[in-house]
């Protein structure tokens, strides 16, 4: 098993290397604007604009600190724990809800993809639940789940459940018929077909569902914390807004942006390692 996954990875790396060298040969000196550096430069330019707009008084507002003050607040927040502790508590709630929602979503998705009757039964309910914006259900849910972790973990699980389920189901339904027929020709049993044929063929779809879910999970965690309760980064942002400390508020927002980016990167890395056939026909 380990060997079989390691082999294509090597192959992929070699192919990428070959592509890179061939591209370099065709176009030896690309202007920097056409490279990834341009994206970074745009971010830097926007940050300089932010700094200037606050320092030079282009934007007159109590709530618009220069970017350097935000960085300073982020540094303070991380050294004294005022920012890092809420971040960790948010991440904890998020991962708990995400794990619950995704495992259920994948399990139900496999079931729905594999059985038409269950699909007919469950899909309408799902289609009704799916478009409900999570912030809209937080206040009524307080009555049932209270205001603490249970509420937040539940809404994060719900938000992660739907994309995990939909993608898994679509993945199962999209499994190449030739694969299934081949398995049938060899008289492979149902369990073995599911585990050795359907699941590997569905994994890329599952993974993309889980990646959509992780972005949603972070957003929903923060929104739920902003609406209810008094813990986590979402609450911290609102608290700093009311405490007239916009630098600390933006530091938390910045911290969220970096967290979202990091989570996505980590996910892509894991994906490339664990599902090397991802993104290939």
């Amino acid at each position: 098993m380990i060997q079989s996954t390691a082999m294509p990875r090597l192959g992929g790396a070699a192919r990428r290397e070959a592509k890179r060298t061939s591209r370099a040969a065709v176009q030896p000196a690309r202007p920097w604007l056409h490279t990834r550096a341009s994206g970074l430069a745009l971010i830097l330019a926007l940050l300089v604009l932010w700094e200037a707009s606050a320092r030079l008084g282009w934007v007159q507002s109590q709530s618009w600190p220069p970017f350097s003050a935000v960085l300073a607040a982020a540094w303070r927040g991380f050294t004294d724990g005022e920012l890092s502790l809420p971040l960790l508590s948010s991440l904890g709630r998020m991962l708990a809800g995400y794990a619950i929602g995704c495992s259920l979503g994948v399990a139900v998705g496999l079931l729905l993809g594999g059985n038409r009757w269950i699909r007919y039964l469950v899909l309408p309910v799902l289609e009704v639940i799916r478009p409900i914006p999570i912030p809209a259900i937080v206040p009524p849910l307080i009555l049932f789940l209270g205001i603490d972790d249970a509420l937040k973990i539940f809404v994060v699980a719900l938000a992660s459940f739907v994309p995990a389920l939909i993608n898994t189901m679509a993945g199962v339904l999209g499994v190449d018929d030739v694969l299934l027929q081949t398995a049938r020709t060899f008289r492979t049993g149902w369990t073995r077909t599911m585990l050795r044929v359907v699941l590997p063929a569905t994994l890329p779809a599952i993974a993309s569902g889980l990646r959509v879910a992780i972005g949603l999970a972070l957003v929903v965690t923060i929104v739920a914390e902003m609406i209810a309760g008094s813990a986590g980064l979402g609450y911290y942002i609102v608290q700093m807004q009311y405490a007239l400390r916009p630098d600390a508020m933006y530091a938390a927002v910045l911290c969220l942006a970096l967290t979202g980016y990091t989570l996505n990167r980590l996910f892509l890395l894991g994906e490339a390692r664990l599902i090397p056939w991802m993104g290939r026909g």
């Binding site: 007159q60 507002s61 109590q62 709530s63 206040p139 307080i142 009555l143 049932f144 789940l145 209270g146 205001i147 603490d148 902003m226 609406i227 209810a228 309760g229 008094s230 609450y235 609102v238 608290q239 700093m240 807004q241 009311y242 405490a243 007239l244 400390r245």
Partner: protein
């Protein structure tokens, strides 16, 4: 002689006493809004008044304040700080709440620091001037909105011809400056900061202008909690009253500022610019009835609510 063994024994005895003491304390979960109004509660915690009554108060801030009553009903909190309008609205919806302790009251006009703020060059002076204009309020259909409307009516304007826009308190100043709102009903500390700038001015203090003595906020519990644990509620109210008394006697005491900074997270130098208003020791049912009449007049309530049974014995 003090040797190691006796030291250890003393330590062990103290540790046992400590846990026994913590175990004796009854935990009360209180939902608060991180504004100056709840300072006496934190004074009572810091001075040990709750502990002396055998209570351990756990505060849980909710910035919007919208989750206090739902949290009470769900059992997440035992007691919640809320405003009089929310209490009446809940009562009309059949939610059985009881006022268990006083919170905020505008007893004297000089202590009414919340104000309607406009741009100095706007020329707005009265409710009549506000017709066709936009007034910023933190939440529509709530206490600030109600008294803004009542003031507009009292000064010759038709409150239905004014647009009310929801703007969070900290952003009110920006909204008025950028002309997204012509006036804003602001509270401490935001009003103090805004009106320190020459471009803004206060034109009115709606609470005291409309209803001097108004009971703006109170501590609430569900009727079921009050019935099940009347002793706990009585202890809470008693300790809180000691906190209020201490607070009222120490309004200019610099020791107060770190206490306020602790739960609002507002930095001490900023707090030094504020004037603190005294807290009430009792709720006045007659004032709550006046608020109820205003709510009917401004169509927040369909009909009268019986105020007397809403007020628990510990609040008066």
């Amino acid at each position: 002689m003090l040797n190691r063994r006796s030291l250890l024994q003393t330590g062990a005895a103290l540790a046992v006493a400590g846990t026994a003491r913590a175990a004796e304390l009854e935990r009360v979960r209180v939902s608060i809004i991180p504004i100056n109004d709840v300072t006496p509660l934190f004074v009572a915690i810091k001075q040990g008044f709750f502990e002396q009554e055998g209570l351990m108060v756990d505060t849980s801030p909710s910035s919007g304040g919208a989750t206090g009553i739902p949290g009470l009903v769900a059992g997440s909190y035992d007691i919640a700080y809320g405003n009089v309008v929310s209490t009446m609205l809940a009562a009309q919806q059949g939610i059985e709440l009881r006022v268990v302790a006083p919170g905020t009251k505008i007893q004297e006009a000089k202590n009414d620091h919340s104000a309607l703020v406009v741009r100095r060059d706007s020329g707005i002076r009265s409710g009549q001037d506000l017709e066709g204009k936009v007034v910023g309020v933190n939440t529509r259909n709530n206490v600030i909105w109600l008294y803004a409307r009542a003031w507009i009516k009292a000064t010759g304007g038709n409150p239905d011809r004014v647009t009310y826009k929801e703007v969070p308190h900290p952003q009110m100043e920006d909204a008025i400056r950028q002309k997204q709102a012509d006036a804003g009903y602001m509270v401490v500390p935001y009003v103090t900061l805004a009106t320190a700038k020459p471009e803004f001015e206060k034109i009115a203090h709606p609470y005291s202008a409309v209803q001097l003595g108004v009971d703006v906020g109170q501590y609430l519990a569900t009727a079921a909690f009050l019935q099940a644990k009347p002793e706990t509620v009585a202890k809470f109210a008693r300790a809180l009253r000691r906190g209020i008394t201490w607070y009222n006697a120490n309004l200019t005491n610099p020791d107060l500022l770190p206490v306020i900074s602790g739960f609002t997270k507002i930095e001490v130098p900023l707090l030094q610019t504020l004037t603190l208003a005294p807290s009430p020791l009792a709720v006045e049912p007659a004032q709550m009835e006046k608020t109820m009449q205003l709510m009917i007049e401004h169509r927040l309530l369909r009909g009268p609510v019986d105020v007397k049974p809403l007020i628990g014995p510990t609040a008066v």
